[in-house]
Symmetry: C2
Subunit: 233 residues, 2 copies
């Protein structure tokens, strides 16, 4: 079966976490909204018994699956991108949900008061939120992943094989380096295992071609944004 992935064109956003799993898993898919933006608006307008709240969503035959972590849970089970035992499956889901919390907070740094308005209209609060994110939230989240890897080894779910959560953590490191290069330069010396995981994902055979292709989108004005005034040591 060829899956249909639906996500806003032009930014990697939350769609990228799904795309990385599809690419690394060698799973066939069509990136539908990149073929035509109107197609996404039309598809979102369709009457569905179980409608997605927002992109990304994945159409797999009769199944329409929304919410990034939920799509990954499905792909993980179906295509062996996570451990098969219950404990391992729940653990990878827990890791992914924690990553999604971090992603939401990274977004809210530049949109702390109104998602529907421009960054320039909320720059004052953004400066405050960025400071809290850099000083408190980044060390807390990244430090937790570092501790997890102390226990687990090279990959977040141990066992000598990557899971979809490893791919997502790779993407988070990419995004944070793009958005907060100075802060990451300060933090990374204490995050040796997270940095090593990032490198290990970047050099996976199954991803190397994808990462240098034009299917891989630059960050641009998406969830991770680089505003120098929001960065700091």
């Amino acid at each position: 079966m060829t899956y249909d992935l639906w996500y806003w064109d032009g930014i990697p956003g939350r769609g990228e976490f799904v795309r990385l799993a599809l690419e690394a898993g060698g799973i066939r898919y069509r990136d539908r909204a990149r073929e035509s933006e109107e197609a996404l608006m039309a598809d979102l307008g369709r009457e569905r018994e179980r409608p997605p709240f927002a992109p990304p969503y994945l159409v797999a035959g009769d199944l329409v699956i929304g919410q990034t972590a939920n799509i990954l849970l499905f792909l993980g089970e179906r295509h062996g991108l996570a451990p098969e035992d219950q404990a391992g499956r729940l653990w990878v889901n827990q890791l992914q949900l924690t990553i999604m919390d971090l992603v939401a907070e990274a977004h809210d740094v530049h949109h702390p008061v109104a998602v529907e308005r421009y960054y320039e209209d909320q720059k004052g609060p953004a400066l405050l939120r960025a400071r809290s994110f850099r000083e408190h939230r980044m060390p807390k989240f990244l430090g937790w992943f570092e501790r997890v890897l102390e226990w687990q080894g090279r990959w977040l779910a141990g066992g000598g094989r990557w899971s979809y959560a490893d791919l997502s953590l790779f993407q988070v490191v990419e995004g944070l380096r793009f958005a907060f290069p100075r802060r990451m330069a300060t933090l990374e010396p204490k995050l040796g295992r997270v940095v090593a995981l990032h490198e290990a994902v970047a050099s996976l055979n199954a991803l190397r071609e994808y990462l240098s292709s034009d299917r891989r989108l630059p960050f641009g004005d998406g969830i991770f944004r680089h505003y120098p005034e929001l960065d700091g040591d």
Copy 2:
């Protein structure tokens, strides 16, 4: 097996979504942090191979399960609090993740720039965020649940039986009524199905005793807070 639920004492918070599922499912549990606050700090400090990032977490024998939606996924499968087929299971997880997004946004209304600081230190940005939340986010989320119920019937996953997502939506309505009574009074006439679901959950036999017991905590200074200046028609 008796589960151990760990969550901060004194507020319902995210722990309440788990508690409602345990209570409605007639599942035996100990509310560990309500027995002793020091016990929670000690338990959080334990070295664990798969540590939770934050409360709530559920200890089920050898399993330590973090992230609210993940705990509910586990309880749903184990205790029949969600459909058993894959499509239904993923749908309820998707509903729950959307509820958790709404809960995170409801929290950020009063803490838009720094979770570690007092509301009083971020009241200006909070007024802006509250306006966006009331005008854009509340109608968008609640309207989506209303549309879902138009298709599904009385319960979010159809099929004549409540799932854990229904219990969570009940709690969200409770929380929003507490935090934004004026706004909810304006919105509710257009949310007949959501309001009916709230009433249906409140009158479940399995919950009635719980909801009037002292195990059920008042909202207080938790995720849902009532600051009159953040409310509005």
